[in-house]
Subunit: 147 residues, 2 copies
């Protein structure tokens, strides 16, 4: 049974499941900021994944990145596995704009998070569910509760 | 013919070539900090690579990350495609330690680079060449000039 790191659980909202990864939204309305969390225990680095999981991660990451880039009209995607503070492997996918409050710096550790309003959270979840409906399984407890 | 972004060329030293990527060392002696640069023009995001290149990038990235993690006794690898300032796709692979000057923050934009001394540059290049000799083609102009 996969166990999510509690800090990741606290800071993010489950959007749905790909075949390998949980897709989660970081609860910071300043950036469209998602993480992919491979549902494998005791993994801290991408290279620790078995070959099949590596390929699946690449596929899910590319699908997510291209979808976000196009749907959010990103200037740039920032895709990163850092994990200095939360070692459980999670790969950031952050939509960046030339007009965002940290551009062109990376965003980690720069600004305190501003949680989504109920309306804005519903809007972004609905948008992402719609975009990824072919590949994403929605949370069984009903993400529709959000919107 | 692949054209390297001149800023990447200025800030880093060619270590050698994998099948897809140039392996380059960022000239900052404060961190063992490497970049993989896929030798494809006009690519800014991983998802823009064709399927075969995506898989090759994953293989080269995992080989490099595992090799660095073990040989440098890393606390953590930081693996990231950012590109806000230099859009040509390049994937950072940074060896992090609990004792390094930025831990646990990401390192980008934090400290001015401290270039390697001639001796330290020779040492790290020789070490990486030795570790990756099965998979890395050395620069044709003779990286041995460094050591």
């Amino acid at each position: 049974m996969f166990e999510l790191n509690p800090v990741l659980g606290r800071d993010s909202i489950l959007v749905g499941h790909f075949s390998l990864c949980q897709l989660r939204l970081i609860n910071d309305a300043q950036f469209p900021w998602f993480i992919l969390v491979p549902q494998r225990n005791d993994i801290t680095e991408i290279y620790q994944l078995v070959e099949e999981d590596r390929q699946q991660l690449m596929a899910e990451s590319c699908l997510l990145a291209e979808t976000l880039h196009d749907a959010f009209s990103a200037t740039k995607l920032n895709v990163a596995a850092i994990g200095n503070q939360v070692p459980q492997l999670h790969i950031h996918h952050i939509v960046r704009y030339k007009t965002d409050p940290c551009w062109p710096s990376p965003i980690w550790g720069k600004l305190d998070a501003i949680p989504y309003s109920k309306e804005d959270l519903a809007e972004i979840l609905q948008k992402v569910h719609s975009l990824l409906s072919d590949d994403l399984t929605l949370p069984s407890d009903g993400a529709e509760l959000y919107y």
